[in-house]
Symmetry: C2
Subunit: 344 residues, 2 copies
């Protein structure tokens, strides 16, 4: 079934997509339906704001990304930025621009993914904008969250001797992308062949349906740990470490042997004949948390499940380096995904 969006118009489409949305958060006073949404936060909270603009053909490829997954991921990557400030996401606005190629049902699919993410993370959809584009789909999401005034964590607070920690494992989302890209090339034009992804489910899930590390933020709070600096890993560990070090006026040493990597990632890297550490350091889209804690928290963090100590902060003069398994030092370079750099 295909209903043309033109038959509903902008307001009809918005009504249909936002039907039955009920705010869950006390801070949401008025959502969709006026010139602006209305929020109310107690004064002991700081308010966090982050935004993302995703363009078809640059940030996602609809030949292998289902619209529902795309919606889910678009929302979750914004939640991840709020958690990375040690906050809790509360509201999002969703703006879509779509070409005539898309039907009302397509938009419902996309929106169902966004709504599912919002349900899972208890975030309210409070507004947005729906419009047309000449080509492709554009998705712009702004997320608003809150944090206790003295608990906001920036990128600029890392201090010499602080421990560098990372949640989960790295490189899997990137390997998932390689896998999908390969299947796309292999299967081009042969529509009936279903690619076999057995044993690679984790990689696909990491690429297509990432989660934001709400659980880690909760664990840190429960253990009374406030990181000295934190950010989420969207462009690759190398790039993010360099941001933290630059903004904290510090250097760092991270150890190859401590970089957390899943088994499937390792298998896939071998199959693709790629350097595993490079994938983990520069892969991007992991949406794991990278943070630093004072050395006094060593015992606490080393006991926390799902968190790995990968190195430590140094004086700025020492620069940022990776220590390989055989003890060599390599200066970190931000080779992560950069949408505005020259094509390779």
């Amino acid at each position: 079934m295909r209903t043309e969006i033109a038959t509903l118009g902008e307001f009809g489409l918005i009504d249909r997509l936002t039907e039955g949305i009920k705010p869950e958060n006390e801070s949401t006073r008025y959502g969709v339906g006026d010139d602006a949404a209305v929020l109310s936060y107690p004064s002991e909270k700081q308010i966090l704001v982050t935004t993302d603009l995703l363009m078809e053909g640059v940030h996602f490829d609809l030949t292998y990304v289902p619209l529902k997954h795309l919606g889910y991921k678009s929302a979750v990557v914004n939640f991840s930025d709020i958690y990375a400030m040690n906050g809790t996401p509360r509201q999002i606005t969703v703006s879509l621009a779509l070409s005539k190629r898309f039907s009302v049902e397509d938009m419902e699919e996309l929106y169902s993914g966004i709504r599912l993410a919002c349900q899972q993370y208890h975030v309210d959809i409070i507004g947005g904008d729906t419009s047309s584009s000449l080509t492709g789909l554009a998705i712009s999401i702004t997320c608003i969250g809150d944090a206790d005034k003295d608990k906001v964590v920036y990128r600029n607070g890392a201090k010499e001797t602080d421990l560098i920690c990372v949640s989960g494992d790295l490189g899997a989302a990137y390997m998932g992308l390689q896998l999908l890209e390969r299947e796309k090339t292999v299967l081009k034009g042969e529509k009936d062949i279903q690619p076999d992804f057995t044993g690679k489910e984790y990689l696909l899930e990491r690429q297509l349906k990432p989660e934001a590390r709400k659980d880690i933020i909760e664990k840190l709070a429960a253990a009374n740990i406030v990181p000295t600096s934190m950010m989420d890993i969207s462009d690759g560990l190398s790039s993010e470490l360099m941001h933290i070090c630059k903004q904290s006026n510090a250097g760092c040493r991270v150890y190859e042997e401590h970089i957390p990597i899943d088994y499937q990632t390792a298998v896939m890297a071998e199959e693709f004949n790629m350097n595993l550490t490079t994938c983990a350091m520069n892969g991007g889209e992991d949406y794991e948390l990278l943070f630093t804690v004072p050395i006094a928290d060593h015992e606490k963090v080393s006991q926390m499940e799902g968190i790995r100590l990968i190195g430590h902060i140094t004086k700025p003069e020492l620069g940022c380096a990776l220590i390989t398994r055989d003890g060599q030092e390599f200066e970190l370079k931000a080779q992560g995904w950069n949408p505005l750099k020259e094509d390779k």
Copy 2:
């Protein structure tokens, strides 16, 4: 001079565009440079959030819109939504996606318009996202503002016998667009001819460099008037009146003879052989304020410069109608700009 964006990369471009930005508002605690911006509002304020996504070829045509004007307008239309809630805009995030056609200098032009608007209205740029697109330019702006808790004005509070007021004049922005579209057609391919817009400056200004009605919000506050309902006129007076009436469960009568129209708009409509009232009722992009006040405020509002009483709110059964100069009643129809409706 043309610097390719690829030579700077995402972070280089952001650094260049946001250089020297200093927050003006106390509520802005941390702007560009982390996973999220950090704001802090006192608890007696409600927080307002609005967002817009503008796509090249749909919302703007760079053959006649200078990038600086585009930036200015993109910001101002968001401020307008915050004023329309009886609030004050305080922060914006700016997301841009651009194709290789654009240079660093182009983006500086665009950004200089956004920054100028922010200066004029005392709004802080607190973040955003900069990325590439396969074709064209996409601009997504989210604006955050505040209002006293008991002063937020929604669309749904209009009551029977309330007076309907409008600021400024209507239809000029639409006539400006017609004028630019005509010149574009006439001059296609003839680059050296400069169109003569003498005597039509107001129309062009209304289209290319609209302002948000901060002054009206201030006047209303000074006169101790809190409208019962309000919105800004972006899609045309007819369409907006119908929103207010639908959401307030009311009807309305507006009088053709009271619709405020500028002399240049009238001259242009005649030149184009268009119905002037239709242009004023459905033209869109005026960014004037449409609001209702209790009849007890009649004297106060009728003395306010720049505000016109155009009609009154009725019981819902009476529907929404325009009363023409010769006393006929016409049911209002939303013929305003609707980017998702079928092409004409």
